[in-house]
Subunit: 357 residues, 2 copies
DNA sequence: ACTCGCAATGGTAGCGCTACCATCCGCGCT
DNA sequence: AGCGCGGATGGTAGCGCTACCATTGCGAGT
């Protein structure tokens, strides 16, 4: 029994109503083809590679689509072509505006290339990360973007085994799973120490979150400070205040208060996020400490508000948008069968010098 | 020719190498079934409804899955069952932390129920919204969550026609497409005006973004102020400063400066976001205006930093997490074939009274 | 005139999975 | 003994689409 033997009704309800199976009852490609007076495969070509059909056919198929309100079933198409036009992004959490810019740029760049973003939040629980990985790999995305994720060894193996292009971002590990767009947190930390040193600051301190990447920045900062001979840093005795994730304005206030109790004479604070830095500035205000003069404050991230604090915040700028766009380009290239010239891209960073340091 | 007639190799590479089609070459259900010594359909049941197979079979199938590294192809499963286990969320943009909490909660709640979130950003371009809608509907998600989207009439129609459950959020329109979780922006604005009036404030002003929902809050605020007889508000002459999207700390600073130029005696400012409010506070600081005393400031959103500003920010709290969770529950219920008791849920709001007003 | 090539179209056979029905087996009942 | 019944399992036939190959028709090349 063929579809043609049923009524001419658009949609496959009639067919399934007669005998047998499920079906969504919506308009399918065969309906469009019949309306346009062509075979299904020709209708498919008209939609997916318009230059492979005659102009006349193309017009008729397009008209049929418009008339019937047909929306291609991408699950079926994906199954048949093993191309899902989906890209998955895995982040620890989207709150915490650090990765937002990257996700935003990624989504936009992908949409421009006809891809859709699937978002996964691993939280910080490893078992969840594994379950999530299954859910993601199960959809056979054309690419996976890992942002700020510390993946388990098991996770790495499954990703590798899946054969799906992977882009890691926001970090620069020597041994990426596949591709990578990031920068060196350690060098960023070192650069801040050198900058503060050049400003004449010698009594440095840190307010930092305790995630892995912040740790790397701290390491670079402390080592550079030691190398340059700043106070206390020689023996890794950098005054440090750790704050729990996520880093907030409130933690920054507490952080400065805590540091001042032990080291009332400190003259510079490097914060692992702009939110912390804003908190430090506000706490300094409350204590009538002149930020930028008696106390230098440096943030990290160059979030939108950094230019508008009082005084404006000196901070490390990471081009999150570029990271997202590059990640998208890498994946799109790979999905199109192309080879990428450079599997590891160092996007660098810059110190935006404003009034706070 | 059946799969069984080929070698016992795991994965369908051998089969497809021999003659014919594409195929991903990865482990498929039939491989698992063969390993476990059962039929494919039994393996499927073992994975999807474990209580419908014998404990022994279940164990053997699970072992086979573990041994082969099988990951179900959810596109194929979705096609066969017309259940995608995907939910799409449409937001104008994810930067701008307002909807973050909702998206976060939504993702988590869905993951707990075995659903995956697909994220779409419409930007503010209507043509893009339409293209996006096709990409989304094409994947046949089990639900669509609209957050802060003003959808075109055409968009409404397609959503309706698709038959997919839709939840609109963050607003309370009288005629939702399907389901709705939100609150009345107008009433929120009115409540702030009443609150400020009760605090003895009479010379009110507004700093606001110019999106639709902020407009509704402004309307409620202005009308309530007029009703209560605050200065100028009788004739809708509320001093107002509009700022371009997105609302930022910087816009808030400019906003207050602008208002003060025209109305140096104002004693209260209602801001359409906490970011604006923070900017207003910072500008007031810079001008040595005592916030909470000479000038009352009220924000909107109760973002994380609101409790930590100096002085702490009085603001309107919306439970974005609850919105996300409720939206998830509505969709999961519907997808499971259940009927929802209440198609329109008013989540309300509350004014968090702190030191700034 | 006859091949050759190419553009346009169509038929067929799956992609990997699950809904639907059929079968089988063992159990308690009449 | 024969019956029905429910639990476990299997076979088959698609879900809606596209890869692969075949076919057709027509103009150019020899």
């Amino acid at each position: 029994m063929t579809r043609e033997s049923t009524t001419a009704k658009i949609g496959n309800t009639a067919y399934h109503g007669r005998r047998g199976r499920r079906g969504t009852g919506s308009v399918i490609l065969a309906d469009v083809a019949k309306l346009a007076g062509v075979a299904a495969i020709t209708a498919s070509r008209a939609l997916n590679s318009p230059d492979r059909v005659s102009p006349d056919t193309l017009k008729r198929v397009r008209a049929a689509v418009a008339r019937s309100g047909y929306v291609p079933n991408l699950m079926a198409g994906g199954l048949a072509s093993s191309k899902s036009r989906l890209v998955a992004a895995l982040v620890p959490t989207i709150s915490g505006p650090v990765f937002l810019e990257t996700i935003q740029a990624l989504t936009e760049a992908l949409e421009d290339s006809g891809y859709q973003l699937m978002l996964g939040q691993s939280g910080y629980i490893e078992s969840r990360e594994d379950a999530l990985l299954d859910a993601i790999i199960g959809r056979r995305p054309d690419g996976i973007v890992l942002t700020g994720i510390m993946h388990s060894a098991a996770g790495r193996r499954r990703l590798l085994a899946s054969g799906i292009p992977v882009v890691e971002t926001w970090d620069l590990t020597p041994t990426p799973i596949d591709m990578l767009v990031g920068f060196s947190h350690e060098r960023a930390g070192a650069a801040v120490a050198e900058f503060l040193h050049a400003c004449g600051r010698r009594k440095l301190a840190i307010v930092t979150g305790d995630d892995h990447r912040a740790g790397l920045r701290r390491k670079g900062f402390v080592e550079a400070a030691a190398r340059l001979g700043s106070r206390g840093a020689r023996n890794r005795e950098m005054p440090t205040c750790f704050t729990p994730a996520p880093t907030t304005l409130g933690s920054g206030r507490i952080g400065l208060a805590t540091l001042l109790r032990q080291h009332p004479d400190l003259d510079a604070v490097f914060c692992s996020s702009d939110a912390l830095a804003l908190g430090v500035i506000i706490e300094a205000h409350a204590r009538r400490i002149a930020v930028g003069k008696r106390l230098a404050v440096v943030g990290f991230g160059d979030l939108g508000f950094a230019r508008d604090t009082h005084p404006a915040l000196t901070t490390v700028r990471i081009d999150g948008t570029a990271i997202g766009q590059l990640a998208a380009r890498l994946i799109v290239t790979r999905a199109a069968g192309g080879a990428v010239a450079q599997r590891i891209i160092d996007i660098g960073f810059s110190i935006v010098e404003r009034a706070s340091a």
